[in-house]
């Protein structure tokens, strides 16, 4: 995939025009930083939710699990 496409996919739209001043390698590096940030956030969120369920009162745990995971 071209670097423009990769960056657009990570940013969910066209990058600010100023980024054209960056080299291809730099734009790819930023796309990768953003990709990692998203992955880390999702992983962190999942893990925090799992841990939280352990401390939720048993009575509510099922309801909350259904709210979170359908």
């Amino acid at each position: 995939m071209s670097v423009e496409r990769t960056l657009e996919a990570e940013l969910g739209g066209q990058a600010p025009d100023g980024l054209a001043a960056l080299s291809e390698q730099e734009r790819r590096a930023f796309a990768s930083v953003l990709h990692d940030a998203k992955a880390r956030q999702s992983q962190e969120l999942e893990s925090a939710i799992e841990q939280s369920l352990d401390v939720v009162p048993r009575l509510l745990r099922g309801t909350i699990r259904r709210m979170l995971f359908g």
């Binding site: 080299s23 930023f30 953003l34 998203k38 969120l45 841990q51 709210m67 979170l68």
Partner: protein, 445 residues
Amino acid sequence: MTAGLSVDVEILKLARQVGCRPQALDYLEQLDPQDIRDLREQVTGVLFDADRQMLQRVAAATKLLPSKLTATIGESMFSPLLCARVTGLLDPHRAVDIAARLSTSFLADVAPYLDPRRASRVIAELPAEQVAEIAEELVRREQYITMGDVVGHLSKAATLAALAAIDDEALLRTAYVVESKGSLGSLVALIPAKRLTAIIRTASEADLWPEALDVIGHVSEHQRGELADIAAAQDDELLEGLVRVALDDGLWPVLLPVTRAMSPASRERFVGLPSVQTEKVLAAIVDAAAQEALWADLLVFLPLLPVAARRLVAVIAADLKAEYAAIIDAAHEEELWPALIAFAAELDETTQRRIAELIAASDQAILAGLLAAVEAEELEREALTVFARLSATKQARFAKRIVALASIAALTALAMAAEAAGLDTLHDAFKPGPGRRKSATKASS
């Protein structure tokens, strides 16, 4: 005025959003700060959207739990970043209730990750006392950017409490990095004059003039004048320090407009400082005017300089050929003809000729403005010194245009000045005679 955006600050904020060290984004230094800000806003949106569904479910689930338990879960299981993400999705009252049960330390951990626009209502409802405590903790951590992000989102009571909780140095450092510079005016309006004076002194003592000048540059014209006057009322040592820093750090593009905002008495005192009149500083001032097209500010500044310093500026300004048209426009638009004429009269012959040619070729409105100023301020002698540099043909053409515009009284004054200066061509052209049309347009009426 400078934009106030800094590449370093923008990179730091972006690095925080994507969870990396700012150094890992060094390659962004080549970009305009506004581009980095646009990129950060896009990134913030993407990161919020990436897990929006799940974050919304988490926010909904908290409604089933008591605030105390939610706070415990938040502080022990969720990272500050995730808490910040969820905050904007909570009902503000509920979020404030949960925040009341979180430690100040944890709230200070969460604060850097908040997107104030998404959590604005929550931030606005935080109690003043709690905001003051968080502000104190953030100052202890030197998290000025985080504090700067929420300025403009806090309630007035909370802003006052935070102002009271932090010292002048922290306040200056925070104000410098405020995300929405437009809110600086409201912030400054909450600070009493006595504290503003202390802040100006702190700027000098803690080497924070760049920060202070940036703030002064972003408040209202009235506040700029007030702050500039407070600065100008300080002792010479402090002002000499300001002049030195402005020279060393290239801050004259910011400082020159500040001098214009001063009261005439303050400006006179400031311009009278020996350090302002050195060749280096004057060159920096002229450079600043050229860089930022601050011609009106320069024209207000110039007449206050002593003759020797004005002559130095005249020598420096001789290199500004490309800018003369802009200087003439500024003199016209800002009604600063007297300053320009007086200054032009002190320039070398070649420069005078260039300026005279540009003015002579200007449109009627500019000539009318010039005439009105010359008549009102009785600057006929100075003006003719400059226009006498025109070639005979150009003098005749210029005089013809002036005659068509000027009142009889104005022409008489010009003719008398021309005669006194031995400028025969101009004297003959302006001299009211039997052939003079009585219906000449009265430029000065």
